[in-house]
Symmetry: C2
Subunit: 310 residues, 2 copies
């Protein structure tokens, strides 16, 4: 914990960058290596996880862990677990039978580089690897179980996969804003909420209980904002800045917040979400159980997610 706290003199950009480097080093060490065919599978798993992304989910784990005074070692493992699941979902989503995308984080997608079969297997392998990380967090068994359940719930039918299924079913369909919102709550929101919850679960259980409901409100608003901003960027940003194919939702005739609400209303919705997220953090800080400034990084993360340009 001390190591994260000692970063308190850093501004948000420096803090995030320090933790991204920390995450990258941890992932380099934690991701398996091998020879022969297993080595090839390891290579694809590493390609999927390493050197990419804004690590929003990992940063949320660390930011939420600050609230409950979680040990840094446990946060490291939870951050790996959640980013492994996120990485696997991107690999599977990019496959030809799903979104058939060729560019991700500025690089060829995994199936372009390794072939479909190996990419699918790399995704399949990252999922149990995530659960193995949690088992190695050094936390008491009850907390490991809570983390495992939280990650499993957010990954499956009631989370990410369920959202992906709604997405699949909605291509070329007219769907309303409620269905769109439900889709994203599951597809992206569930894992974002799980990141916040898992970070907080790594720490003091009493503090977790006190912060639980406002943290849920925070992460629900943040998850929605994240997707709204994604949809805005899909029409306003360049492929080069985005690191993935811009304009692909429009091209695929996918319903988005922009296509349903228009650009201005979508931007207004993102701002409302930001307010809700920050209000939830105010409630935590006002309740008196937490040290002043405890929510600083989560606050900054909300502003970052909503203000980002890629």
């Amino acid at each position: 914990m001390s190591e994260i706290l000692s970063l308190s003199d850093l501004d948000f950009g420096q803090w995030a960058e320090a933790l991204r480097r920390r995450f990258e080093d941890n992932a380099q060490r934690a991701l398996p290596v091998g020879d022969g065919p297993l080595g090839k599978l390891c290579e694809a798993m590493r390609y999927a996880v390493l050197d990419g992304g804004k690590r929003v989910r990992a940063l949320l784990v660390y930011g939420a862990g600050l609230l409950t005074q979680a040990p840094i070692k446990a946060l490291d493992e939870a951050a790996l677990a959640v980013e492994y699941v996120h990485a696997y979902s991107l690999v599977h989503d990019d496959l030809p039978c799903m979104d058939n995308d060729v560019l991700r984080r500025g690089k060829p997608t995994a199936h372009v580089k390794f072939g479909e079969a190996q990419a699918m297997l790399a995704g399949d392998s990252l999922q149990p690897e995530a659960f193995e990380r949690l088992a190695q967090s050094g936390l008491p068994d009850a907390q490991i179980n809570a983390l495992t359940f939280c990650l499993a719930r957010a990954s499956g039918l009631r989370g990410m996969c369920g959202g992906q299924m709604i997405d699949l079913s909605s291509v070329g369909q007219k769907i309303d804003i409620d269905t769109l919102r439900r889709m994203h709550e599951l597809k992206t929101g569930a894992l974002i909420s799980a990141s916040v919850r898992m970070g907080a679960l790594c720490g003091n259980p009493c503090l977790y209980d006190r912060a639980k409901q406002p943290l849920e409100d925070y992460s629900t608003a943040l998850g929605l904002a994240f997707q709204v901003v994604d949809d805005i960027l899909d029409v306003t940003a360049d492929t080069a800045v985005l690191g993935k194919t811009a304009g692909k939702d429009v091209a695929a005739d996918k319903p988005t917040y922009v296509s349903l609400l228009g650009l201005d209303q979508a931007k207004a919705l993102a701002r409302r979400c930001e307010e809700q997220a920050l209000n939830a953090l105010d409630r935590i800080e006002l309740c008196g159980d937490f040290e002043k400034g405890t929510c600083r990084r989560l606050r900054e993360l909300a502003c970052y997610v909503i203000g980002r340009n890629h």
Copy 2:
């Protein structure tokens, strides 16, 4: 436990059938249902798991649980978890980018019935669902963690997915018997061993510790035998009896125990494995820590796996 023990007057076929029915009822209740797109995903998950297979892995969970006096409720959940993972692996293996198979357990494969994207998602969803089942076993947290770790390890790079990767890399290649064995130890053996270990882990930890090593020897021999018999049946059985496409390994130019050893030597190897498996159980029964007859079902399971015709 009492319910399984009360089946002790049944012969093996009756015992196995009673537990298969029990498993099927549990799976019917445990597998999710829903409306709309999520309902469609549930349907594919149910299709992948229900009404199929010999349930060898579930039976091994129950058989091993007898040794350590495991509670039936925990065995039920462990059996579901292990069969969910097995079912997901079949769905993914059958996909066009892998084995491209159209028949499984006498029915169209999941991607033939639901399309590739939905089939892949159903597989992806079954994996976290398996971990959720373990969390609901009612066992102490330390045991749930041990089960989770065991299942994760057996499913990923160091187990099933790793074996599948060796398999992918060996199509059309000349590989030796050691590589073939290593491939199957991971691809099939790891989950079979995990089934035995998980069943035993559900019970008394002291009994588990005493049975641990012989159980590993038993399941290693059984896992090898299972695959050797599979390879034998691929050349000797009909598609109708097998419930999956017979002769497909030969057609795909895949190395098998039969192609490397010849049919007679493969049969001899299966018999040697059976002996080793039964010897390991003798060691458990001779050590004096277990009730007489405690290994009966595992013994019968070994004979069943090796003597089966499909």
